[in-house]
C-alpha cells in the first residue's frame, strides 16, 4: 500500500479552526460501527460534503451489512468542502476516512456512491486527495480496488475509466459477497488484474476493463460496449435484487450526526420500487419490482429506530410512500404511539389526489407548512404522453382538500422540454397554476386569502438511460430559455411564484446520462480545469466543461440534442435493471400516440420484463387504493 493504515487526525486537527463547519471532519458520532482491529477494510464514500452524504440510506445499508460481516470493517468518507480540501493539499494531508482518520488509500476497497450525474468530478477530487491514481488502468497492487454503485449506475460508461468495478443494483448482499471474495483472492496472492477477472464472475459486478467499445453502423455516435475478445464475462450484467426485501433490516441507520443535516431524521424505507410507469422516470424502472414492508414491521422499526437514535423526526421513505397498501394504518398507528413526544412523522411526497391530502393531514398535525404536488406537465395531452396518470380534476380535488384542511401554500413540480412538447403545453402550465390559485380562493375565507401562495418549479427534462424516453434528445438550452420566458409571460396571477432550473447544469446532466466512454476524458478535463461540486450552483462553471469537451473534439450541445434511432444499440445496454427493450420501445410508441399504461400493482402485469428477468416479483402486503 502507498499509505499505511494509521490515525492521522493530529494532522487535520490544526486545520479545523480555519474551515467552516469543522464537525464535518471529526467523526466520533453516536452509533458508528467500524471495527478497528479487522484485517480487511472498506471505505465507503459519498461524493459530496458530510451533511449531504450522511443521511444516504444506501450507504447506511452497506455500512451496516459490511460491519456485520466477520473480519470486515467499514468506515465512511465524504468530500471535504473546498476550504478544507485546499487546506489539506497545502498541508500535505491525504483524504482520510472518518472513523479511523486513516488514509483512504490504505483501505482494501474504496466504494463510491453514485447518486446522480453531477457527482462526476467529485470522484476525481476524492481520488486525487486520497493519492490514488485517477485512472483504473494506472493503479497497481499497492492501490485499493475502487468501485462504485448506486441509483445512477445504469449508464456507467462516462465513468468507466475511473473505477475498477461497478456494483449494479441492490447492494445488500452483493457488497459483502464482493468484499469476501476479494479478501480470498488477495490472500491467495492474485494480481489486481486476476482479482478483477474473478470478481467479474459475481452476478451484478461489471468490470469495465474487461469490455471494449465497438463503433459500428448499428450503434449511436458513442458506440456500444461488448466483452473484450477472450474474456469470459457476461454480455449483459443484470442488477442484483435483495433476496427478500421484507427480511432486510428496516433500520440500517445507526450513525447519529452532530451537524445539522439536509435530512436530519430517522428514515425507514417502507417500500421499494414504483410501478406507476412515468415515462421520464429512471427510478420507476430501476427500482422494480415493488416490495412493501408490513405495517407491523414498519411500526416496530420506527419505535425501535427512534429509541436507538434519539431523533425527533421519522421519515417513511420510498419512491411513493402514499402508494403503500397499508399507509393509512401505519400513519394512524404511529400517530398514536408518538402522541405527546414532540416527535413528528413525515412522508417525502404527496400523491396527487384527495387520498394523498388525507395522508398529508395524518402527518401534519398543527403544523401545516406547504404541500408539494407533481403534475409534471400542464396539459392533459402532455401528461398522457409521459404517462402521469393524473387529471386536472385530481389536482383540483387535491388542492381543494388541502386548502380546506388549512394549508395555505403549495408547490407544483413540472418539467419542460418533454418529448412532443409545444408552446401550448407551456402555456398550460401557467393556466394550471392560475387555476390552482382560483380554486384556493374559492375555499379559503376572504380574510385569509393574503396568505395564499402557489409556487411552481419547472425543471428541464433530462432523458435518462433505461426509460421509454432514452432515445429522445434534450431541448437545446437557448430554446429552454425561450420557453421559460414564455411561461413567465403566461402566468397571470400574482399569487404564483415561478422557479425554474438552470439550463446549463441540465446540459451536463443530459450529456452524462446518455453519453459513452468518450466522456471520461471530458470529466477529467473539467476537473483539471477546477470543476468540483457541480451540484452546487455557485461552484458550477459551464465554460470548464465546454473547454474540456472541445479539447476532446466533442460538442456537448450537439451531443445532447441528438435523438437516437429506435433500433440503435445504446451505450449502456450491457448494464441492465432487467427491463426488456421491447417494453421500453412499446412505451415510447404509446407515448407518441398519447396512450397511457396502467400500474401493475393495481391491475394486470404490463410486461416490463423485470420480474422474469431478475427472478423476482411484486410483494404487496395488502390491497392498494
Amino acid at each position: 500500500m502507498r499509505h499505511v493504515y494509521e490515525d492521522r487526525f493530529a494532522e487535520i486537527e490544526p486545520l479545523l479552526n480555519r474551515v467552516e463547519k469543522p464537525s464535518r471532519y471529526i467523526d466520533h458520532e453516536w452509533g458508528t460501527l467500524a471495527k478497528p482491529d479487522a484485517a480487511y477494510r472498506v471505505c465507503l464514500i459519498y461524493p459530496d460534503v458530510y451533511e449531504v452524504g450522511l443521511p444516504n440510506q444506501g450507504i447506511a445499508i452497506l455500512y451496516n451489512n459490511l460491519n456485520k460481516a466477520e473480519g470486515i470493517s467499514c468506515e465512511r468518507g465524504y468530500i471535504p468542502w473546498i476550504d478544507m480540501a485546499d487546506e489539506m493539499r497545502a498541508a500535505g494531508v491525504p483524504l482520510l476516512s472518518l472513523e479511523g482518520a486513516a488514509p483512504v488509500a490504505a483501505f482494501d476497497v474504496v466504494g463510491f456512491h453514485i447518486p446522480h450525474e453531477l457527482a462526476a468530478t467529485n470522484y476525481l477530487e476524492a481520488l486525487d486527495l486520497a493519492d490514488i491514481p485517477l485512472m483504473a488502468q494506472e493503479r497497481t497492487d499497492d492501490d485499493p480496488l475502487v468501485v462504485a454503485g448506486g441509483p445512477s449506475v445504469y449508464n456507467p460508461e462516462p465513468l468507466y475509466a475511473f473505477f475498477d468495478a461497478f456494483l449494479v443494483g441492490e447492494g445488500e448482499d452483493l457488497i459483502v459477497e464482493f468484499c469476501e471474495r476479494h479478501r480470498e483472492l488477495k490472500a491467495a496472492g492474485l494480481t489486481r488484474a486476476e482479482q478483477l477477472r474473478e470478481l467479474a464472475k459475481i452476478p451484478g459486478v461489471y468490470v469495465p476493463s474487461l469490455y471494449e467499445l465497438v463503433h459500428d453502423e448499428a450503434s449511436t455516435r458513442w458506440g456500444h460496449t461488448v466483452p473484450r475478445a477472450g474474456e469470459d464475462v457476461p454480455e449483459v450484467i443484470y442488477k442484483r435484487v435483495a433476496a427478500d426485501f421484507g427480511v432486510t433490516d428496516p433500520v440500517p441507520q445507526s450513525v447519529v450526526p452532530y451537524a445539522q443535516l439536509v435530512h436530519d431524521r430517522l428514515s425507514v424505507e417502507v417500500l421499494r420500487g414504483c410501478a406507476r410507469g412515468c415515462r421520464f422516470c429512471q427510478a420507476g424502472i430501476t427500482y422494480r419490482p415493488v416490495r412493501e414492508r408490513s405495517a407491523d414491521q414498519v411500526v416496530s422499526a420506527v419505535v425501535h429506530g427512534l429509541e436507538k437514535t434519539g431523533y425527533d423526526e421519522v421519515s417513511l421513505t420510498s419512491l411513493s410512500t402514499t402508494d403503500h397498501s397499508c399507509v393509512k394504518e401505519i400513519l394512524s398507528r404511529l400517530n398514536r404511539r408518538l402522541a405527546d413526544t414532540g416527535i413528528s412523522v413525515s412522508i417525502p411526497s404527496q400523491r396527487l389526489d384527495s387520498f394523498g391530502v388525507e395522508m398529508a393531514l395524518e402527518v401534519a398535525g398543527e403544523k401545516k407548512g406547504g404541500l408539494t404536488f407533481a403534475p409534471e406537465a400542464g396539459s392533459q395531452r402532455m401528461r398522457d404522453i409521459i404517462n402521469k396518470n393524473v387529471t386536472e380534476e385530481d389536482l383540483d380535488r387535491a388542492v381543494r382538500a388541502a386548502f380546506q384542511a388549512g394549508w395555505r401554500r403549495c408547490k407544483l413540480y413540472f418539467m419542460m422540454g418533454l418529448p412532443g412538447e409545444r408552446d401550448e403545453d407551456i402555456v398550460a402550465i401557467a393556466h394550471l397554476a392560475d387555476h390552482v390559485v382560483e380554486v384556493t380562493r374559492e375555499v379559503v375565507p376572504p380574510e385569509q386569502r393574503g396568505g395564499i401562495g402557489v409556487s411552481i418549479s419547472v425543471a428541464v427534462f433530462i432523458p435518462k438511460a433505461w426509460t421509454p424516453f432514452q432515445w429522445c434528445a434534450q431541448l437545446d438550452d437557448a430554446e429552454v430559455k425561450r420557453r421559460q420566458q414564455l411561461l413567465l409571460a403566461s402566468v397571470k396571477s400574482r399569487a404564483v411564484r415561478v422557479h425554474y432550473h438552470d439550463a446549463e447544469t441540465s446540459l451536463i446532466e443530459a450529456v452524462l446520462s446518455r453519453g459513452g466512454r468518450e466522456l471520461a476524458p471530458v470529466i477529467l478535463g473539467a476537473w483539471q480545469r477546477g470543476q468540483r461540486f457541480d451540484a452546487w450552483t455557485e461552484q458550477f462553471e459551464l465554460s470548464r466543461w465546454l473547454d474540456a469537451a472541445s479539447a476532446c473534439g466533442i460538442d456537448l450541445r450537439e451531443a445532447v440534442q441528438e435523438p437516437f434511432p429506435l433500433d440503435a444499440k445504446l451505450p449502456w445496454e450491457h448494464v441492465s435493471p432487467g427491463v426488456s427493450r421491447g417494453f421500453l420501445e412499446r412505451e415510447y410508441r404509446r407515448a407518441l400516440e398519447g396512450k397511457t399504461t396502467h400500474d401493475c400493482t393495481r391491475d394486470t402485469c404490463t410486461g416490463c420484463g423485470v420480474c422474469p428477468t431478475l427472478g423476482a416479483g411484486n410483494v404487496l402486503v395488502g390491497e392498494r387504493s
Binding site: 479552526n17 469543522p22 464537525s23 466520533h28
Partner: protein, 247 residues
C-alpha cells in the same frame, strides 16, 4: 386546568476531545437526542411546534474545552437524580459526558442568567527563542485591562470586547520551562462575556510589540488559531457558577 407537576433537572457536562469543535447548536441538538435515547420522561412545549423543554448555559466558542457546561431539563415525572444521570451517561458520546445532575426549583432562574461567573484556564507555551516570563504576561494583561476594551473582527463586523466589565481577575503561573498557565476569572451576562481567544490575540499583539517589533501583526478576529509569541495547547472553561453564591 391545573399545571401538571414538573421537575427541573440541572446537569453539568464536559466538552472535550474532538467534540470541542461542535458548535453550540450542534451540542444542543445532540443533547436533545441524548435525552430521548436515555428514555427520560421529558416535557415538551405546548403549541404549534412542540419541542423538548431543555435550556443551555451560555455558548462556548468552537474549539474551547470545558469542564463546566450546563443544561436544565424539564421532566414530567420524578426520576431519582443518580438514575437520571446514569441513563444520560449511557446515552451520551464520551466527550460530552455529564458529571453531575441534581433537581432545582422548577422556577429557578435560567442558566444564562444564573451563571454569571466563568473561569478559564489557558495552557500555553512561549514561542521558541522568546524569553517570555510570567511577569511579562501579567504586565501585558494589566495593560490590556487598563485600555478597557479590545476591538476585533467577527466576519466583516468590527466588535468590541469589554475587558473592564468582563475580566474580574487573572493570574499567571509558570508551569514548566517556557510553559504557562493563565487563569481568567470572568463575568458574563446578557450584555456580553469574555472571549478568551480575543484576549489572547491582544496579549500576543502586546508581547509581539516588545519581542518581535519587525513582524507585522495579524488582524484580530474570531476563530484565530495561531499566535506569534506563543502557542496555546488548550483553552478550558473550568467553572461556571453564580457570582452571588461565591464562597
Amino acid at each position: 386546568m391545573t399545571e401538571p407537576t414538573l421537575f427541573k433537572l440541572r446537569v453539568r457536562y464536559v466538552k472535550r476531545g474532538r467534540l470541542r469543535y461542535l458548535g453550540h447548536l450542534e451540542v444542543a441538538h445532540t443533547i436533545e437526542r441524548v435525552v430521548r435515547r436515555a428514555g427520560l420522561p421529558y416535557a415538551v412545549t405546548q403549541g404549534f411546534s412542540p419541542h423538548m423543554r431543555v435550556a443551555f448555559s451560555a455558548a462556548l466558542p468552537v474549539g474551547t474545552y470545558s469542564e463546566s457546561e450546563w443544561y436544565d431539563l424539564v421532566l414530567t415525572e420524578y426520576v431519582p437524580a443518580p438514575e437520571a444521570l446514569a441513563r444520560l451517561v449511557a446515552a451520551t458520546p464520551t466527550d460530552l459526558v455529564p458529571l453531575e445532575a441534581a433537581y432545582v426549583d422548577i422556577r429557578a432562574k435560567a442558566l444564562t442568567a444564573h451563571l454569571t461567573r466563568a473561569v478559564y484556564r489557558i495552557d500555553m507555551t512561549s514561542a521558541e527563542g522568546l524569553a517570555i516570563s510570567p511577569a511579562d504576561i501579567e504586565d501585558a494583561l494589566a495593560r490590556i485591562c487598563d485600555r478597557g476594551s479590545i476591538e476585533y473582527l467577527r466576519g466583516k463586523k468590527t466588535k468590541r470586547l469589554d475587558v473592564a466589565r468582563t475580566l474580574t481577575a487573572f493570574s499567571v503561573e509558570h508551569a514548566a520551562s517556557g510553559a504557562f498557565q493563565i487563569t481568567l476569572d470572568t463575568h458574563q451576562d446578557n450584555d456580553g462575556s469574555m472571549r478568551p481567544e480575543i484576549l489572547l490575540g491582544a496579549l500576543d499583539a502586546m508581547l509581539a510589540a516588545r519581542y518581535l517589533p519587525d513582524v507585522e501583526l495579524p488582524v484580530l478576529e474570531t476563530g484565530i488559531a495561531s499566535f506569534l509569541c506563543f502557542s496555546v495547547a488548550a483553552i478550558v472553561r473550568v467553572e461556571q457558577s453564580c457570582e452571588d453564591e461565591r464562597a
